[in-house]
């Protein structure tokens, strides 16, 4: 009897601290699978950002660096410039990547820094207890938009893949989700490609994963997947936004 599914080697045995049903865990596994499949654990260095995934340095079996909030891609740039043969990825939330880290994100992207960026968009600041994120939906109730996000005062969500696809340095930008097995598989391929691109020296690759936060959304894990499907996917269309190989640029929604 063969084991056809087990914990990837690139995940340590430390139990994850995430809330029950939080899809951060699924994405962790997909990243680890990509590292396993490409056989690069020994030369991979991950950058943990500040957000619920801050402690992912304990979970990934490769070397890890914990970066200041928002600065993961600057730290990753330093790591990559120091050791270009290493495989560097960042793992960042929406607050980290698209609020405080906006400048670092835009500029790593426009520099075409040869990095793999895993971006967890859960439309909320999970770790600090559920404040509005730059990606919170219009009308969404959060701890700091108790009456729903009012676009008049709190502005509109930032659509990261759309924004970054306008930049010349970006090699690959795809938005995926992990709400069902089919989408998990698409996400797996996208993440692997984002790593493969780095090995091929193609430049900046980002995978945006629409993810859940059952705790701060105030929903059960299963309800959260539904909320994501009903609210997030329509606002944040899935698909490849940019792929210098395939010539896809902006708005292409083919999966």
């Amino acid at each position: 009897m063969a084991t056809i599914f087990q914990k990837p080697h690139a995940l340590t045995d430390a139990p994850l601290h995430y809330c029950p049903g939080c899809t951060h865990g699924i994405v962790h596994r997909l990243v680890a699978q990509a590292i396993d499949e490409l056989g690069v654990e020994g030369r991979t260095v991950g950058v943990a950002s500040v957000g619920c995934s801050v402690m992912c340095y304990d979970y990934f079996a490769c070397d890890m660096v914990q970066a200041p909030h928002g600065r993961a891609q600057a730290v990753a740039t330093g790591l990559k410039r120091a050791k270009p043969d290493n495989v560097i990825f960042t793992y960042q939330g929406d607050g980290d990547l698209a609020a405080i880290g906006t400048a670092e994100t835009v500029h790593a992207a426009t520099r075409g820094e040869n990095l793999t960026v895993i971006f967890i968009n859960n439309a909320i600041y999970g770790m600090t207890g559920g404040q509005m994120a730059p990606t919170s939906l219009p009308g969404q109730i959060t701890q700091t938009t108790p009456y729903g996000r009012d676009t008049d005062t709190a502005g509109y969500p930032v659509k990261v893949c759309e924004l970054l696809s306008t930049l010349d340095g970006v090699a690959f930008a795809q938005r995926v989700t992990v709400d069902c097995v089919k989408n998990v598989n698409i996400a797996r391929k996208a993440i692997k490609k984002a790593f493969q691109n780095q090995l091929d020296g193609k430049g900046y690759s980002i995978v945006e994963v629409l993810s859940t936060c059952p705790t701060n959304w105030g929903l059960t894990p299963v309800e959260s997947l539904e909320w994501l499907r009903e609210n997030m996917i329509p606002y944040y269309p899935l698909g490849v936004y940019k792929d210098i190989d395939a010539g896809v640029k902006k708005g292409g929604a083919s999966q």
């Binding site: 601290h17 995430y18 809330c19 029950p20 705790t215």
Partner: protein
């Protein structure tokens, strides 16, 4: 007094009710929460001081009263309880024996009682009921007023359930 348990069991709320009762009685009071190193789903506890004197450190390491809602919390605090102190624990979740002879221990199967009495999630208030019954430091009216302070108007239905839980606890 220390209220301790998992996050989500309502220990912070229970502590707040106790604090308000103290406040109504004109005491000096303080309420201090503390969370375990896990950010999510870990342990949570709060220190509540009720005193006639201004309160120094609100962090209690040696409580007179310990309300323990799970085993890790009991284990964390039991040795610190002041000699002569009181421990009230949820015996439906904690089955450890307590070897100390210098303290009073009340075992209330509050989780089971809550389930059985249609008071799911109010195990905490059953223990509060028991606590105030033993404490005897304020009248039922004061405790009721305290609950009113802690439960917003629009959740009036909750208030009723809380009252029942407290009453139930007091009878244990």
């Amino acid at each position: 007094m220390v209220f301790a348990g998992f996050g989500g069991q309502g220990v912070l709320f229970a502590g707040k009710v106790a604090a308000y009762a103290g406040l109504i009685k004109g005491k000096e009071i303080s309420w201090l929460p503390s969370y375990g190193p896990e950010m999510r789903g870990g342990t949570a506890n709060c220190s509540v001081c009720i005193s006639d004197e201004p309160i120094g450190s609100p962090l209690i390491t040696a409580p007179n009263y310990l309300i323990a809602m799970n085993l890790p919390s009991l284990e964390r605090f039991i040795d610190g309880v002041e000699p002569g102190g009181t421990v009230i624990l949820d015996s439906s979740l904690i089955d450890r024996e307590i070897s100390r002879g210098d303290i009073t221990v009340y075992r209330v199967p509050s989780s089971r009682l809550a389930e059985e009495n249609g008071l799911t999630g109010l195990s905490n208030m059953i223990l509060v009921g028991k606590l105030f019954h033993e404490l005897g430091f304020c009248t039922d009216e004061v405790l009721d007023e305290a609950m009113q302070k802690c439960i917003p108007q629009r959740k009036a239905a909750m208030l009723e359930l809380n009252r029942r839980a407290v009453a139930l606890g007091a009878r244990q």
